[in-house]
């Protein structure tokens, strides 16, 4: 077994577009679920809106990459409003049902051959990163050290991703320390009480849904920035991965989702390298290398359950909160 390679692979995942994309998605979900108490089960849908909004804007409308990204974020605003207007006046569970359904509807729309010219159907969309790479100001060459080595083409989306993530973290931090964030947390605890104090609860929930949705969509954009958009990615299990990340790091915190994303992906890479290696080494004789690779998804599910039962406040969450959770 090549431990060096396993650790190298795991460490390299700390800085990757995937990790950054998931961190953004988790940050947005943190605003929804952790701060406002909105049970958004359509994270995959919001990410798909970001990814396809970006790719379609370039391929179909010929927009420059930055304009395509803005269009994708605006599409997320519209998506959030479509989901929010009918459901945010109702009890919380309705939002969960509608968002999970909407995300599936969206994925099936992307998958159907009826819109193949625009969406690429099952093949997805690719070959749109020319304009983005052309805008790359980084001179050719190898950068970084140890497990983190990138050429200019790999580094560019990572730089953009980190800048977006930093901006998003700053935004969420600024919002949550303000009286606006206080109202949002109040709504999470009991929206009728907040309503009785003269706050327009519907408007606050809508604002939170839009802000979080835009941040999740930014994750979708980062995910597809330099590669391709594929409908197979935006499935419901993606939503649950992001929930795992948010709960791992601490739902009601600003940095928790970011930390959660890093830990989640390091573990994923570690297990996906370790398990097949164990099979090859003859430690797990009862399964094939392929099966062993899949075991990590089972472990994610087990991990999510353990988290919710034993540490629902997450790594960075306030332990004091847990004393009072019913």
């Amino acid at each position: 077994m090549d431990w060096g390679q396993i650790f190298n692979q795991s460490a390299s995942s700390i800085i990757s577009t995937t990790t950054i994309a998931y961190a953004l998605a988790a940050l947005g979900l943190g605003v929804h679920f952790g701060q406002a108490g909105l049970l958004n089960m359509g994270v995959a849908g919001f990410m798909a809106v970001g990814a396809y909004g970006y790719a379609i804007s370039i391929l179909t409308f010929g927009f420059p990459w930055w304009l395509a990204a803005i269009v994708a974020l605006l599409a997320a605003v519209v998506f959030a409003m479509i989901l929010g207007v009918p459901t945010l006046r109702l009890r919380g569970d309705y939002l969960a049902i509608v968002t999970i359904a909407a995300a599936e509807v969206l994925r099936l729309l992307l998958l159907t051959v009826a819109f193949e010219e625009v969406t690429g159907s099952a093949d997805g969309l690719y070959g749109y990163s020319g304009d983005f790479q052309a805008a790359n100001p980084i001179p050719d060459g190898e950068y970084g050290f140890g497990p983190w080595q990138f050429n200019q083409n790999e580094l560019w989306p990572i730089v953009i991703g980190i800048v977006l993530l930093a901006l998003a973290v700053l935004l969420v931090w600024a919002m949550m320390r303000s009286p606006w964030g206080r109202v949002l947390r109040g709504i999470r605890e009991d929206e009728d009480a907040v309503r009785a104090l003269g706050k327009n609860v519907f408007a606050y929930k809508m604002q939170a849904l839009i802000i979080g949705g835009v941040i999740i969509a930014a994750g979708g954009i980062v995910y597809t920035l330099g590669s391709n958009a594929s409908p197979g990615v935006y499935v419901t299990s993606l939503t649950f991965f992001v929930y795992t990340i948010v709960l791992l790091g601490g739902a009601a915190t600003v940095f928790g989702p970011v930390l959660g994303a890093v830990i989640f992906w390091v573990l994923q890479f570690f297990l996906s390298n370790l398990m097949p290696a164990l099979v090859d080494a003859g430690v797990l004789p009862f399964m094939t290398a392929n099966q062993a690779g899949m075991v990590r998804f089972i472990l994610v599910g087990v991990g999510l359950m353990l988290l919710v039962i034993f540490m629902p406040q997450g790594i960075l969450g306030n332990k004091k909160e847990m004393t009072f959770v019913k």
């Binding site: 919002m175 206080r182 109040g186 309503r195 009785a196 706050k199």
Partner: protein
Amino acid sequence: MSSDASSQSGPPTLVPREKTTGLHVGEATPGCKKVDPIIVADNVRRSFGGVHAVDVDHVEIPRGAITALIGPNGAGKTTFFNLLTGFDTPDEGKWSFNDRSLAGVPAFKVARRGLVRTFQLTKALGLLTVLENMKLGATEQRGERFFTSLFPAAWRSQDKEIEERARELLVRFKLDAKVDDYAASLSGGQRKLLEMARALMSNPTLVMLDEPMAGVNPALTQSLLDHILDLKEQGMTVLFVEHDMHMVRHIADWVVVMAEGKIVAEGDPSTVMSDPAVIDAYLGAHQDVDLGVVTGRVAGDGADADASRHMIEEESNDELEREEKKR
């Protein structure tokens, strides 16, 4: 008291305060006119699956006074509260607050107009600190608007003022030691206090309290009563639902009795409480009698009782005798 209804003397208090009188015009009948009503409700009806929870033809709540809304369980008091504050929509009817119609106005706008309420089942925001709960009560905060919230310079000074006010109120409500604790760590009675203090952060014109005394210990009850009387002195109007008749008699200037959704009696506390219909429908014959007397374990003591009390106590004595004969 019924023999001398004009003298508004309640039980002795630490700070004796005048009751507000002369609130109504003409006879004190259900739905009677008030000199200066703050709330006027007409034909407000709400039914739940055929049951008329609220069926109010006409009622006026006097301004600048403390009005108690009493009635048996299921009389529709809380539903009426919900209807007035926009938390529920009636099947029909119109009602106004400060001469402006409130029909169809959403709850948060009702609150912004100066009509704040508390809930029977206390709604303290558990995972917010006591201070955060209080600050949430203040209205027109610049920092609560999304874009200005991003720039602390725009709201920090206002937030400081709000915090000062919140701390002062918390001292008055004896919650100052709990400022930085989660509201979830408060006891039931303390949560009641917090909810009331939070409602006051908005400087309301009308405060509607749904059972403010339920679960509050006797020592705090006294100070809470003083707070409610203070509110009146500061020019606020108070409407409250309460089952504690001592409190009703002690602080209410006017009493409205509901039963089966309807207003069945109105008047000043002493008159209403000696009204046989009210005693029959709600208070029961033993409201002023020690529970020990009611159960026959303690001998009755009616030395300072008035006519109606005598009647009640005679009745309970009869019962006692009957009990004794059985033995």
